[in-house]
Subunit: 502 residues, 2 copies
């Protein structure tokens, strides 16, 4: 049997670590803060990339690739960005090693760079430096470009997927002729992220702007999607920034408008990262292991033929292969990303059936089919859904004729069910609070608080210092009635979302 | 009109630079040696990635991701690799910047790493350090893993796509229980590369091992695919290495065999990179611009509706849209990577038709359709194939009924035609030589030479010093008769391929 997973109720952090390890998603490498994304984890990322890339292209974006290195002086040009990232920059200072007697390989002191290079923590600066020569006229706009890349932020405390020194992400960088168009792009991409989170990841999110204190360095406004994990803490799952003309000004990117005037271009940037895998794990998984929503599952269905000997196994395998063939023949539609249903047939007969089943349970395969001699007598099979553990999720005697269509329907049901369950979980844990005493008491319990805030950085910082809660977003939806700040008593335009966060 | 492209005959290097620039494939960035891959160039890379990734998965491989950083001591552990890459390593020495009065952002001297980190030039060391904990028993083998990543080799003379400090690639790293199995994997992946080069890129390649002097640092044997560019020079387009037990020994990776013995694992690694885009350009393009084989074309067909005014343009656009719809409905098959045919309708009526046509010619779109009022009178269109420039490649009066099927067939014909043409070009330029005088004379002409070689590093180096030609490969195919070395007169097992190379 696989090692035991620590129950969520016993130790939530350890539960997360156990899932990542036992589903073989990732591990810490010997390089401080950097993870190895193992094949099972990377397969999830590939599914996410494929779905997101299609959404980006459907909204008119194209991909490109910009250098890993950013000259130090580029970073310095946008003041807020320099300040925001200076403390976590990996710096390349030399370009050669040499062998030295008795010392082995040493950094060659003669190969020192004239200007140090930063490993990109984000690419606004290098990209806007490039856009300078791409943008001359309003006819060159909008520029709608995305990049899939690795970035490095030297974080001191790391956690697999959620916070690592190197991570994988996509970063969109667009340039526009008008403020209105750039602001619309910022909203469009937030909506792409919301759709991806809810329709693919089955992870409900709140959307809205960040407060001044929480926005991206260099942004005029940061919109975000915020999700609630099963311990009630918030996870910032994606951000879309309206950058105004900050980067156009820092890199002197101007264009001739249709009226013949020279103007600075308007910018947005937006990104999601491998952090989403952490969000996926903490939204759906249970004490038996990973739970993956079907739309992102690298394997949708595992079929386990059963039998004590070759005579029994032969017909089980044949029936499994027939069912797999029927499943793969289900028309490719949007739900499956226009790919066939992925079916795996497990033939590890040397292991106990219980062991085989639990392996796929730990890895989160959405549907498991069991096919043994007794099932075949009845021309039927057993269908177990991963999202409902134990007997309750196990359907006996599903007729083989029609089983493929039944499973196709079940996969769509699981997808919808996971979202509904996560949404119910979250909604139960969002509570309005009206006094600071109540705030301080309830913030110790899992969940988000809806509280009035006077809109000042000062109050925001004071609340964070005293309660470790931050403003997660000023939600677009929900109650927009004015009131009084829970902390200062000053007027508040509307309630905002407070929570402790990852 | 677009700027003029320098003809190949006038200045081959400039021709290459012009194509890269005017087809908007890439440009040099402000970071020394690093390129920006522009959307048109990146779209080619995405098509290549998709096709290769499918070939890797069909041969049982999975993707994963390992850290960008390699501790200096890891590189030092495999002697040949340390020696081979030490001179071109980008080295991270610090992890923080700070603002200093009057100096702006400086590297914080207090944030010096205890051990320097190298940006991966290739990942054998960090991956085999990880495999140590993944491999315990023969049951854990084979490990068949691929990584899509960026790598950095600090090259002094760079050239867009062909040699850049940072480039994108895939690197496969496999571990096996036996030498025979690892050697077979090396051959299997070489064959994947050969197929990809010939069947997708339409770029014929010679296959075979490299000589000792040309093999990969740390490899026991390096197999390669070698292509001939239009200036007759060789391009190493992909390599597959049998690494023996070198890395298993350097990182102490042992497993318990089925007989219960502790043994070192056997390794392979194999890679192709964005260099392939350079090879694609130099294999097919002409003095009018880029030529892209249909299987890798981001856009297969561009339809240019024509007309002097809205009355004429309306019906042209309607007919273009109808044809596009029919083209997109052609069944998705292996030829198109199971994706629909990509059709673009060009509606830039404000530009002259000649200008519009030449734009797509420069960008290498395989088929252009022209649809004007005169064509519509006859319910027909004009179909121009990019691989045959000028009138010869232009078919007038193609009936609209059946045009989609006609174009589908034409795209397949173009694909086959490009390979046949490139093969004929290459085969005419591979010549056997029997004396060193003849060798020295013919090496000044474009092409490869087939010459006997005594198998020693000494002779290989002497020939390279005197003629700038290197041994490209010891070909698997062709004449295997023994003879006498063209340089030393010593016995030679068979002729090998010499050429000047990129």
């Amino acid at each position: 049997m696989a090692e035991k997973i620590t129950p969520r109720g016993t130790d939530y952090s350890q539960w997360y670590i156990d899932i990542v390890k036992q589903a073989h998603l990732a591990e810490n490498s010997d390089v401080r803060g950097c993870m190895v994304i193992k094949p099972n984890g990377y397969a999830l990322w590939e599914k996410m990339q494929k779905a997101l890339d299609r959404l980006f292209k459907d909204t008119g974006h194209v991909n490109a690739y910009f250098p890993l290195f950013i000259p130090k002086s580029f970073l310095a040009r946008e003041e807020e960005m320099a300040e925001g990232f200076a403390k976590e920059c990996a710096v390349v200072t030399h370009y050669r090693l040499k062998a030295e007697k008795g010392k082995g390989l040493i950094v060659d002191p003669e190969a020192k760079l004239e200007e140090e290079l930063i490993i990109r923590p984000t690419s606004e600066t290098i990209i806007w430096n490039t856009y300078k020569s791409w943008i001359q006229s309003y006819r060159d706009l909008p520029l709608l470009i995305n990049q899939w890349a690795n970035v490095v932020r030297w974080e001191m405390r790391t956690r697999l997927f959620l916070r690592t020194a190197e991570f994988l992400w996509q970063e969109g960088h667009t340039a526009h002729a008008t403020e209105a168009e750039a602001r619309e792009e910022t909203r469009t991409m937030l909506e792409v992220y919301r759709r991806f989170a809810e329709e693919w990841m089955a992870m409900p999110v709140l959307t809205g702007p960040k407060s001044e204190g929480q926005k991206f360095p260099g942004a005029v406004e940061t919109l975000c999607i915020e999700a609630m994990m099963q311990d009630g803490r918030a996870l910032q799952a994606g951000t879309s920034h309206f950058l105004g003309q900050n980067f156009a000004k820092a890199f002197d990117v101007t264009f001739t408008s249709s009226e013949g005037k020279r103007e600075f271009a308007w910018a947005t940037s937006w990104g999601v990262s491998t952090r989403l895998i952490g969000g996926l794990i903490m939204t759906h998984s249970d004490d038996n292991g990973l739970v993956v929503p079907p739309r992102l599952a690298p394997t949708h269905v595992v079929i386990c033929p059963l039998g004590r000997n070759d005579d029994e196994r032969g017909p089980s395998i044949a029936a499994a292969e027939q069912l797999a063939k029927e499943l793969r023949a289900i028309p490719r539609d949007e739900f499956y990303g226009y790919e066939p249903i992925e079916v795996k047939i497990d033939k590890t007969f040397d292991k106990q059936p219980g062991y085989r089943f639990s392996e796929y349970e730990v890895r989160g395969v959405p549907v498991r089919v069991e096919l043994g001699p007794k099932d075949l007598e009845k021309q039927a099979c057993v269908v177990a859904r991963r999202d409902v553990p134990g007997k309750e999720g196990k359907q006996m005697g599903v007729p083989l004729a029609g089983a493929a269509a039944h499973i196709d329907k079940l996969l769509r049901e699981i997808q919808a069910g996971l979202l509904a369950k996560a949404k119910a979980f979250r909604d139960e844990r969002i509570r309005p609070v009206d006094t600071y005493d109540e705030f301080k008491k309830l913030i110790e319990e899992p969940g988000f608080l809806l509280a009035h805030w006077d809109g000042t950085r000062e109050t925001e910082d004071a609340i964070q210092q005293e309660t470790k809660a931050t403003i997660r977003c000023i939600p677009f939806d929900g109650d927009a009635t004015p009131g009084k700040c829970v902390k200062s008593g000053a007027p508040s335009a509307r309630r905002v979302v407070f929570a402790r966060a990852y």
